[in-house]
Assembly symmetry: C2
Homo-oligomer: 277 residues x 2
């Protein structure tokens, strides 16, 4: 069976980078799970003794602590350093940038608007870099602007989300009409959309499609549904053991994509198995 | 006949201010016509001996030169000063602001985009304040963005036009998606829209409407057509001599508005005449 990989799939740039960093620090611990994939966190634990801390109180002096892609709030970073831990920063550059923008702009007396979900750890981290926390506002919908009182008529805005750009632009447009100056920093992370676009493309040219990822993962399920639109023989599996050889009967080309939490080695096992059919 | 004036009509803030300034400098000359209304420029000439220069070459040493609301290009201002003329700046603050923004932002290495008409004198003036004239771009439609190569991926943008805000936002949205940072300065002049909104409101509550302004003036014609939508008895006149008393037969309330080049004293003559019916 001939196999073709989507032009973009699986881990994003930031996660790949963080795993590489973690592999370089044996006997360390990540602050929160590096990735939502148990196989991969087990691998890091078994091969590199990279453990997992869930609370700052878990940290002991001289620990080597890896900050995951999401980043952490400024106060937490300070506390880590005060505990005399060695801090390894694997924050995704796409998160570090908005952190620094929020810091700089709030120091220059701009009110801050973050497009994102207040509950997400990366948003909490970015927000924490604002000088005046009362004047850093986080919203997901344009309607929420009505409830905000900005301190200044100069607004700086960043996007920290994988949500639709169109909604961000709606928010920005309202800001422009009501304020003297709006500084829009394009910090939207395209990774999710890149995997989706690539899945759409490849599913049009193959006669069977395999999507690898967690069955409860919303981004994997979305990839599967995009593939089904173009290729009725699209299957969602978590790993190679779930493959069914009948799927490939009388088929010529199998396309592969994978959710954002699926490690390359799981994908490779699937590819190897399909190629044997 | 009872008369009611629209809540906003006639000269905008900037023109009123410029005329006031011109009246304070007898025996001066304006660089280009202060306003497109011959009656008003005649009045300034007759009452204050404020003349009119059309070319820089007209200027003689020790002349007092009034810069009109539109502003002038930086090089022209320099030339005026080199001729030892006394320069009185009546540039509208809504034009001075984008001039200064373009200056400051281009010095900070932002590419500049001006939403406006390249042929308009105020746009020429604003553009001239850019440090690198090759990197100051003037457009009226989003499609024109395709032909632009910005020097930087940081763009500062100002609006110098009375065109629709919606089109400006479309342009800004495209910029946001393609650049690292977009600084949007809300410099849109609302004067035209204020007169239009006020004409719409008042024409709904009167039974006869008089619009005063040049019959060739596009902004006056637009006011007239807005009034006709709500009040079929809407008449466009240039001055009180064109009033027809039959228009007011059996009418109770007459609304008044005026184009952006119609001086108050012409409006007052019309009001006085109608009140006598």
């Amino acid at each position: 069976m001939k196999v073709k990989l989507a032009s973009s799939y699986g881990f994003c740039f930031g996660v790949k980078r963080a795993i590489k960093i973690a592999e370089g620090y044996e006997n360390s611990a990540t602050m929160g799970p590096l990735i939502h994939n148990q196989n991969e966190t087990d691998r890091l634990q078994n091969d590199y003794n990279v453990g997992l801390y869930r609370e700052l109180t878990d940290v002991k002096p001289k620990d080597t602590i890896i900050i995951r892609t999401h980043g952490i709030p400024r106060a937490d970073l300070k506390e880590l350093k005060s505990k005399d831990a060695k801090v390894i920063n694997a924050t995704c550059p796409f998160v570090t940038t908005p952190q620094q923008i929020v810091k700089k702009m709030s120091e220059k007396e701009y009110s801050i608007l973050i497009f994102g979900d207040e509950e997400h750890p990366e948003v909490k981290g970015v927000k924490s870099y604002g000088k005046d926390q009362e004047d850093v506002h986080v919203i997901l919908e344009p309607e929420e602007l009505n409830n905000i009182r900005f301190k200044y008529d100069k607004i700086a805005t960043v996007a920290q989300t994988t949500k639709k750009k169109e909604i961000y632009l709606q928010i920005v447009n309202e800001l422009i009409l009501k304020n003297k100056e709006v500084r829009v920093f394009n910090t939207i992370c395209d990774a999710t959309f890149e995997n989706q676009d690539a899945a759409r493309d490849i599913s049009k040219e193959v006669d069977v499609m395999v999507v690898i990822g967690g069955k409860n993962s919303s981004n994997t399920k979305q990839l599967h549904s995009i593939c089904l639109e173009n290729c009725e023989n699209s299957y969602l599996i978590e790993n190679a053991s779930e493959l069914n050889k009948f799927w490939f009967d009388n088929k010529k080309l199998c396309g592969i994509t994978a959710g954002a939490s699926t490690p390359d080695w799981i994908i490779q096992q699937v590819v190897d198995s399909i190629e044997k059919y």
